[in-house]
Symmetry: C2
Subunit: 323 residues, 2 copies
């Protein structure tokens, strides 16, 4: 079901890109939108709308809004993070320059709102309210992420709040907007928001886990990348909280004083410490807790088991249990 | 009338700023919004709404949206232009850094949409459509402005299109949104848009004129600033188009090869060439043409002479005929 929607969405995105003016402002927009990605968020809008027998034409405008917004945030985040690559290709600011990335990103944020406006008058106020609330939270999440980089005292709760804002709420928002557009009642729309948000939290924690403990063959990114770049993740924050004595000193040395310069040695040592501290087990448990909570939220939605098939498929996809 | 609205708007803006969270994301937002400025755009929303007996509460949300959007564009433009000062104070990226300016600017754009959403359901679709169309045009204008910096063959028509997008449409949009919010009919709302756009074009050309020919005592900025920085303006573009032979060579030398390094000498020489070419007269005529066209658009609006008092006052203010 997900794969079928992805295919339809890619066509719709392609048509959208073709409709943009062929001027310098829009070249980076077309570029970043054509780099692919899992397209999870727009798929969720369509999935949710269809579950409530919504109008596909309307849903695809909502889906485009969410995907354009998501890519806007990637373009601007990549400038801030000075990231050279995105999905294996040059980031917009690397390929063009910072100014082009700032301005084309701005245009994308506005283009997302244009798609919201195209969903029609019926539920515009409700959709706009959810979209506004979520968009500003994504900015707040990015701000926290930047604040954390400069801090050595981030707690697990602060980290969870950051990933809630930066990652999870947009997944919830996608599902809620799909439901609203299809005329679902408030309670169902809100339960689907919770479902998406919780699944998003589970997914992010699992992503943290896989960076250290994932199968290099199956994990899409470089295993140990977070460790090498001293990135604050659930694992590193929890390990710093949990460790005492010599282990605590060693972790501080590694993360804050660059005590191990060889990347392979660094990853091996940190992973070994994580295992000793049972961080692997704890992270899996936390991730599973969120996935389980997501399942509970889904059970509150007044649809039949059959109608929820797509949502379960999505959860399986996020959990990595994809069939 | 304008001064009274400005005072009310400042209170409303202050209340808005006080309502923002006290976190790093919003510090630059509060800072830039408190730097003052003429507040022409938000005043226009209120003026227009009141002319059609609109609800003030609704109009002030529209006014906030326009002013927050305008300041968002200033924050991001200042990064792109590497401008150190704005209204005599540090720009956001100078006071904080580029990342803070990018992200807080993004938050402002979203905050503008939150104010649009607060104008209520009645005319949300119409207001959002005008606001979206204008916002993207402002980005297109900034892109043209950047493109022009790297080009030696900008025509007067291209320049006029750039200032239409970058400056004039937002003035039109402010008036149109005020009218829509007050329930004015489409034709009146559109005529006010045209009135604002044309007045904005006249104002920008006059600003170009005053940079070279203004009274240093009355002009708010450094006289000759555009000439010193080789900025493309109506004057410089028209002079390059109009000049021939030795004068053309001299202007090319000055603007493209930095032939005169002393700023005072440079300004004096360029102003003298402008006068010889009658660029001063031509620019005044062009500016007056737009102001006159604006007056014609205003005459199409189905309000009484008395009800149009505020709009005439605004035009006088923009023309510098302020009483």
């Amino acid at each position: 079901m997900i794969d079928a929607i992805r295919k339809e969405f890619e066509s719709s995105l392609e048509a959208y890109c073709d409709s943009l003016p062929n001027t310098p402002l829009y070249h980076p927009v077309k570029y970043i939108l054509s780099l692919g990605g899992k397209r999870i968020r727009p798929i969720l809008v369509v999935l949710s709308s269809r579950a409530f027998q919504g109008d596909d034409k309307v849903a695809f405008h909502g889906a485009l809004a969410i995907e354009i917004f998501h890519n806007f945030s990637l373009v601007h985040d990549d400038i801030m993070d000075e990231a050279p690559l995105r999905r294996g290709n040059q980031t917009v600011h690397s390929k063009w320059n910072d100014n082009a990335a700032i301005l084309s990103g701005d245009a994308m944020l506005i283009e997302a709102y244009k798609q919201i406006a195209l969903t029609g008058k019926n539920c515009l106020a409700d959709v706009l309210e959810v979209f506004n609330a979520t968009s500003i939270e994504v900015c707040e999440g990015q701000q926290l992420d930047m604040d954390f980089e400069a801090s050595n005292s981030v707690t697990v709760d602060q980290y969870l709040e950051m990933i809630r804002l930066k990652t999870a709420v947009l997944i919830g928002c996608a599902l809620e907007i799909g439901a609203i557009l299809a005329g679902a009642d408030d309670a169902d729309a809100r339960s689907l928001y919770e479902f998406g948000k919780l699944a998003g939290l589970g997914f992010q924690l699992q992503d943290d886990y896989l960076d250290a403990f994932g199968d290099p063959e199956r994990f899409g990114k470089q295993v140990g990348g977070d460790i090498i770049s001293n990135k604050k993740t659930f694992l590193s924050i929890r390990a710093l909280e949990k460790s005492t004595g010599k282990t605590a000193d060693e972790l501080h040395g590694i993360f804050y004083q660059n005590a191990i310069t060889d990347p392979v040695e660094k990853v091996n040592r940190v992973v070994s410490i994580y295992r000793d501290l049972k961080i692997d087990i704890e992270t899996r448990e936390k991730s599973n807790y969120y996935f389980e909570s997501a399942r509970k939220s889904l059970s509150c939605v007044s649809l039949t088991h059959q109608q929820k098939t797509g949502f379960r498929e999505l959860l399986a996809f996020l959990e990595g249990r994809k069939t």
